[in-house]
């Protein structure tokens, strides 16, 4: 999503602002801009990539500045709508992530007072508001202005006559990086890692004043907050490609070690209650968005199978507007980044309703970790590719461990079954690696999908959501229209769409739905659709009725979504590559969706 970087120090700000901004490129953007304070505030911005902005820049001198990548939400992508914005006098430059909900009213008011607007954005009201409230001190002007604002934001302001950057945060990530004789502010940690690993988190409602030698953070009442910096342990190299053509492939290949890391210490915790100590809840509700929602759907099957605790699902963007029920379930929130706006709002709503909350997230110290009662970290390491890969697998592992804990603590899962499940999970890194090692077997299927305009992904039971995720992966990076469908629902509509040009990917695992799946596959084949079948490697029956067969190791069916997902990730990756798509930065998409 949008990215913010600010710098104040003794070096030329342009170089640092552009370099740091590039670290946020992976989040997706449509325009970029920069403001440097030297002789007045100089602003350069345009639609398009950072590198083209960089080429168009004249030499600008100045050691204080801010920069921004924009992902259009209010007003189309254009030069006018790109950040930073200046006030009427050109004294301030301002960048903003988030949404100002009452921008229309504010704009009307400001326009009637004579302010001239140059864009269609909600952000621009902030800088004019700042101008209106300015009385010699930028920080108090910003604080005054924010009192009139309804919405969410991370803001950074630079001024022409000062080396200070003033920043504010409400429900949008903002971090300060502490250097020597220089300080930075950014919307995300990777932007800072080239310069420092000492980080100060800014919390909701707080404002900050950043100069080359000092940083002060103030709470809503205006009192200064003392906070110790934290040290980021992962370094920029974790976030770089290391020889690989795409982050997505690198990250798929990191699946086995991510799973290994997320199991470390947690396997014993199932019996010892290192997590979910108290299992006295009557039901579970899992709330998530996007790929995390598919993980949640699989989680529902696993929890109900292993613990018999009734489990429901809700999309975070819907849950927040739904009605509470009498019973208060354990609410599990799944978000890779811990910053997904809808999921954060859902966490707050769940707590307001008096529910116990648990978050499954990958990012230590992310906003959601401060909003919930308990956190389960997936420890997959940083994920840069927009398409979730290794983090999805670790979400499945996390949900499985929680389900095993619930089943064990509620005496629904006996020691014998638990021992087998634990051994299976312990072997999971190898099962996944075996799928990756055998990647050449998907070659023919890639061929088939790359030539298609539409594709269907079908499965039953626990692998129905797996196939939804497979379809999502194909859609998001290869731009092929793909639909995930419960195999039993085919006859209620989609069969009409099948023909020899529409390949169908089917997951057929030997569980209680196997025979039904085989008949669905035959049904599809009878419509001349080419079928790609995914099943256990020794499944000769399936192999004989499909056009392309992809084998996975014989894992317990309850964990089969993990290796099958890896197959589907590899399929999507190689199909997109064959089609020449922009794999790490698919059009119109962003990594973590911090708008609602």
């Amino acid at each position: 999503m949008c990215g913010i970087v600010g710098y104040t120090g003794s070096r030329q700000a342009v170089d640092i602002l552009l370099d740091a901004l590039k670290r946020l490129e992976y989040r997706g953007y449509d325009s970029a801009g920069i403001a440097v304070c030297g002789k007045g505030v100089q602003i350069f911005k345009d639609k398009g990539e950072i590198s083209s902005l960089e080429k168009s820049l004249p030499r600008i001198h100045g050691t204080v500045g801010i920069s921004h990548t924009r992902w259009a939400t209010c007003g189309k992508p254009s030069k006018e709508n790109a950040h930073p914005f200046a006030d009427c006098t050109g004294r301030f430059a301002l960048v903003h992530n988030g949404i100002i909900e009452n921008h229309r009213q504010l704009r009307q008011k400001l326009e009637s007072e004579g302010h001239r607007f140059t864009s269609e954005t909600d952000t621009e009201v902030l800088v004019h508001l700042l101008e209106a409230n300015f009385n010699g001190d930028v920080h108090s002007a910003l604080r005054e202005s924010l009192k009139e604002v309804k919405g969410t934001y991370a803001i950074a302001v630079a001024s022409s006559d000062s080396n200070e950057i003033v920043a504010a945060r409400m429900e949008n990530p903002l971090v300060i990086g502490l250097g020597v004789g220089e300080n930075l502010v950014a919307s995300d940690v990777p932007a800072l890692l080239n310069y420092t690993n000492k980080i100060l988190h800014v919390m909701d409602g707080e404002t900050a004043v950043i100069s080359p030698d000092s940083v002060a953070i103030y709470d809503e009442s205006g009192a200064e907050v003392k906070r110790n910096p934290s040290t980021v342990t992962w370094t920029i190299e974790d976030a770089e490609k290391g020889g690989f053509e795409h982050f997505m492939l690198k990250e798929i290949l990191e699946g086995p070690s991510s799973i290994h890391n997320s199991l470390l210490g947690s396997l014993d915790g199932v019996e010892e209650g290192e997590f979910l100590q108290d299992v006295g809840f009557k039901s579970v509700k899992i709330v998530a968005c996007g790929s995390s929602f598919h993980a949640a759907m699989i989680g529902k099957y696993v929890i109900e199978n292993l613990s018999h605790i009734p489990t429901t699902l809700e999309l975070a963007s819907e849950y927040r507007y739904s009605h509470g029920t009498k019973e208060s379930p354990l609410v599990i929130l799944v978000t890779q980044s811990g910053e997904t706006a809808d999921t954060l709002a859902a966490a707050r709503e769940a707590r307001r309703r008096g529910c116990r909350t648990l978050a499954i997230t990958n990012v230590v110290g992310s906003t959601i970790t401060r909003e919930v009662d308990e956190v389960f970290y997936t420890r997959a390491g940083p994920e840069i590719g927009v398409a979730a890969t290794k983090t999805f697998l670790t979400q499945l592992v996390a949900l499985s461990l929680l389900a095993m804990r619930m089943g064990f603590a509620r005496r629904q899962l006996d020691h014998e079954r638990l021992r087998i499940l634990k051994a299976e999970l312990r072997s999971m890194p190898r099962y996944v690696e075996a799928v990756i090692d055998g990647a050449q077997q998907i070659e023919g299927s890639v061929e088939m999908l790359a030539g298609a305009r539409d594709a269907f992904f079908i499965g039953r039971n626990i692998n129905f959501p797996t196939m939804l995720e497979g379809a999502l992966k194909l859609k998001e990076i290869s731009y092929i229209h793909a639909e995930g469908y419960a195999a039993g629902e085919l006859k209620h509509g989609p069969l009409a769409l099948l023909d020899s040009r529409t390949p169908v990917v089917a997951a057929c695992i030997k569980d209680h739905t196997y025979d039904k799946m085989l008949s669905n596959v035959s049904e599809v084949a009878a419509r001349d659709s080419p079928v790609i079948g995914i099943g256990y490697e020794d499944d000769m029956d399936l192999r004989s009725i499909v056009d392309r067969f992809i084998g996975i190791p014989k894992v317990d069916p309850i964990f089969s979504p993990i290796p099958i997902t890896v197959v589907l990730q590899l399929l999507a990756y190689h199909t997109a590559k064959r089609k020449g798509c922009s794999i790490d930065k698919p059009r119109n998409l962003a990594k973590s969706v911090t708008v609602e």
């Binding site: 770089e240 290994h260 051994a423 312990r426 690696e433």
Partner: protein, 396 residues
């Protein structure tokens, strides 16, 4: 000086352990051989490293990435087809400006080996050592300190001093090697062979570590040599009643259950579940996510990642690759054996069982010393196995 590490080869004679990894990624002491090589270079200040990769290159790139984690700056040169060491070097030439050190990525070396070449050499130079089987290598004849002749894999014994495949080369020689490649010469030794009479190439002896694995059973010896760490480093949980003696390292998230007896040098990876009452004797490496059930005895062996060994099993001088699973009562004692690789027979003094990745072995299986089970095999209950099993064999 930059270093070029040749890591593109498959190591076909090491099958089944190279089915899905290049030879340099075979783990000994729980680290790929290549990691020891990179460590030895970095210890001598050679941080700029070009890895020439090819066969299963993703495994290498995934592990080493850009090298920062290992204190190095790693660039990758891709050799699509493995056409020999000279060709591999020519692929890397775009990254090299001045002199460079060339190292084979599949030999276990330590910092001293690199230091010997670095400190004593007058470029160009080749590092030499003595070998009991010189016919497998390039044999070097030395006059004073100058190489007088070099013969690749001589059929008749002409000496026991061999090239370690480690060189310091200058731009002139690098150009000659490129010319040699153009003329169809595959190996660096083939190129040098023709040049040593005209160009002064010095031979440097090493006292450091230099161990090669050519055949699958060699992994056992290379592993023992790699376990040279000192002291105890225990991050996991050792239950009371378990005994840990000697140099032993136990990774985080691993549980050593009561009554187990571990005598080092032994390294156990992360997230393992071992015991109760398991005995692990010296020169054994156990990877990550391994489960070893009660009353099992393991000695002088390499157990790789995510292996599962059932109760009451006996393994000695054995290698089990990733994801291998043995049910209860696998009996694999070691002893003298004849083994066959590529139609060549070998008389081995002491070897147990060698198992490729993901093979599944039933209950109560007995294996003769020197048995090689390929990758992805299925062996039924109560079977006696001897000889070589192809990949994906099924034995009932």
């Amino acid at each position: 000086m930059k270093a070029v590490v040749l890591a593109a080869g498959e190591g076909t004679r090491l099958r089944p352990f190279t089915v899905s990894r290049p030879k340099v990624m075979i783990p000994v002491g729980n680290k790929p051989i290549l990691e020891y090589v990179v460590g030895a270079l970095v210890a001598n200040g050679l941080r700029d490293i070009v890895l020439v990769v090819g066969y299963r290159k993703e495994r290498i790139m995934s592990h080493f990435q850009d090298g920062k984690k290992f204190g190095a700056r790693i660039a990758y040169a891709i050799q699509e087809k493995q056409l020999g060491t000279a060709h591999a070097l020519s692929v890397a030439s775009q990254f090299i400006d001045g002199d460079c050190m060339v190292v084979a990525g599949d030999n276990l070396i330590d910092g001293r080996t690199v230091a010997d070449l670095l400190q004593n050499c007058r470029v160009p130079a080749v590092l030499v050592t003595e070998s009991e089987i010189p016919s497998k290598y390039g044999v070097v004849q030395v006059e004073g300190e100058r190489v007088s002749s070099l013969v690749e894999k001589p059929e008749r014994r002409i000496g026991n001093v061999i090239s370690t495949g480690m060189y310091c080369l200058n731009q002139e020689l690098l150009r000659k090697i490129e010319e040699g490649v153009a003329a169809g010469l595959p190996g660096i030794t083939h190129v040098l062979q023709a040049l040593v009479s005209r160009i002064h190439v010095s031979a440097v002896q090493t006292t450091g570590k230099w161990i090669d694995a050519i055949y699958p059973w060699d992994i056992i010896g290379v592993n023992a040599a790699a376990l040279s760490f000192q002291g105890q480093d225990i991050s996991g949980t050792v239950e009371s009643g378990a005994t840990i003696k000697g140099h032993v390292s136990i990774g985080s998230g691993t549980r050593i259950r009561s009554g187990s007896y571990i005598e080092g040098p032994v390294v156990v990876g992360e997230g393992c579940d071992i015991g109760p009452n398991v005995t692990i004797l010296p020169s054994t490496s156990i990877g990550n996510g391994v489960q070893i059930e009660p009353y099992t005895y393991i000695s002088n062996s390499v157990i790789m990642n995510n292996v599962h060994i059932g109760s009451h099993s006996h393994l000695s001088h054995s290698v089990l690759d990733d994801g291998a699973r043995a049910a209860t009562g696998l009996m694999s004692p070691s002893g003298p054996a004849y083994a066959k690789v590529d139609e060549e027979f070998f008389k081995l003094e002491n070897v147990g069982l060698l198992v490729g990745e993901d093979s599944v072995i039933g209950a109560g299986v007995v294996t003769a010393p020197g048995t090689i089970v390929g990758a992805g095999c299925r062996i039924g209950n109560g079977v006696r196995v001897a000889g070589n099993l192809e990949n994906k064999s099924v034995v009932v």
